[in-house]
Amino acid sequence: MRRRAQPWLGTLVEVTLAQGLADADADAAIATAFERVALVHRLMSFHETGSDVSRFNRAQAGEVLAVHPLTWQVLKLASEIAEASERAFNVACAPNLVAWRLLPAPAVGGPTFVPGVAVYSCEEDGQVRKLAPAWIDLGGIAKGFAVDCAVEALQAAGALAGCVNAGGDLRAFGPLAFPVLVRAPHDPRRFSESLQLRDRAMATSAGYFSRGSVAGRTVSALVDGRDGAAIVDTVSATVSATRCAVADALTKVVLATRDPGHPALAAFGADVMLRCHSPQSHNDA
């Protein structure tokens, strides 16, 4: 068994190869998996000025941009999940995250978040049309997508079982069950639950590492995409799906709507594995 970790996407990405390859082949497969993660990082980082996301953010409304096929896939999936969730999941909340100093401003005097509108459309051949002045952040969904890409790279190299974990976005493949500890939302140094993950993806989202206060208001990197308000409940949601990008995006839907039976879950073959409340979450809500 081989386990490696590198820093990408603003977190630690961990690759575990448990079965199917040995020695040099295993090292090569893991190297390829990390290359895929690095590619997603370069294409979809909000922070890197040369990324597709940064190019989109700098573009004028009405402009059509050619993006990498992987970026196009993520934008397409993001718009499908936004539609299925009535925009509870919404990548266009970035102006609020910038205002709350959770993301750096891509430019001076940027756009404001407008609820209920699509800010881009995916056209044919990797083209994306910017429909309105907007900043998008693919943070979470791209992390899940990077996990999917890494798993596919390992499988393509002949790995039979393994697991990839990017800061809590995980996907296991093969016949082995991988133990997973889920952080407790009220005290993330502790774990509220231990689960087994086999041949499936899961993601946990909670505001505990990003919650802060700006101008007397409690803010968080988790935003309800329907109105742009910060989700500050002491709660975490864990969703499982076949694809990690889907699992990550749907955690936001569950947290925003507080509906563990939201129809978007069934639409994407996902389910809620866990919702954790802290003892004081009623006071917070």
Binding site: M1, R3, R4, A5, Q6, P7, G10, T11, L12, E14, T16, A18, Q19, D27, K143, C163, N165, G167, G168, D169, L170, P175, L176, A177, F178, P179, V180, L181, V182, R183, P188, R189, R190, F191, S192, E193, S194, L195, L197, M202, A203, T204, S205, A206, G207, Y208, F209, S210, S236, T238
Partner: protein, 177 residues
Amino acid sequence: MNVLRYLPVLAAASAAPAFAVQYLSVEQAQKLMFPDATAFREQNLALSSSQMREVEKLSGLPARSVAWRVFGAYRGDTAIGFVVLDDVIGKFELISYAVGLNTDASIRQVEILAYRESHGGEIRNPAWRRQFVGKRAPAGLSIGEGIANISGATLSCTHLTDGVRRIAAIGQLLVKK
């Protein structure tokens, strides 16, 4: 009752990291980063005060430490790069990592060597203890040597990113030598 008898046990228990993963040894990281190297020579660096100021200027960060653990990678007698070792404190964890630098001081690769929670609290946590129970998977294989993956909100890697930036600045000094 002899209280002293229990002290070493208690000390050991509180020092035991609640969560620890060893990914790579220093030697393994060296070989992964420079597979062509025939030798790695320890070339530890002691920064002078003017070098510390230079690191601060280049990285925009406090130089933090005078002494740095550095290995030169060689193919025959030719220097092909450097491996710099460092530790950073994350949110609740200590991260040991290695940065591979090319001879022009550009970053070649970053590998995490070890990761451990810096607080001991979880040892009392039932979920933490449970992971050691029945750690053998149905196939009879022990996954992760009994250590679970962690799912939860993103761990911030700010300190690690800063650390890599600082080492990139130190690399500028290494190639000047």
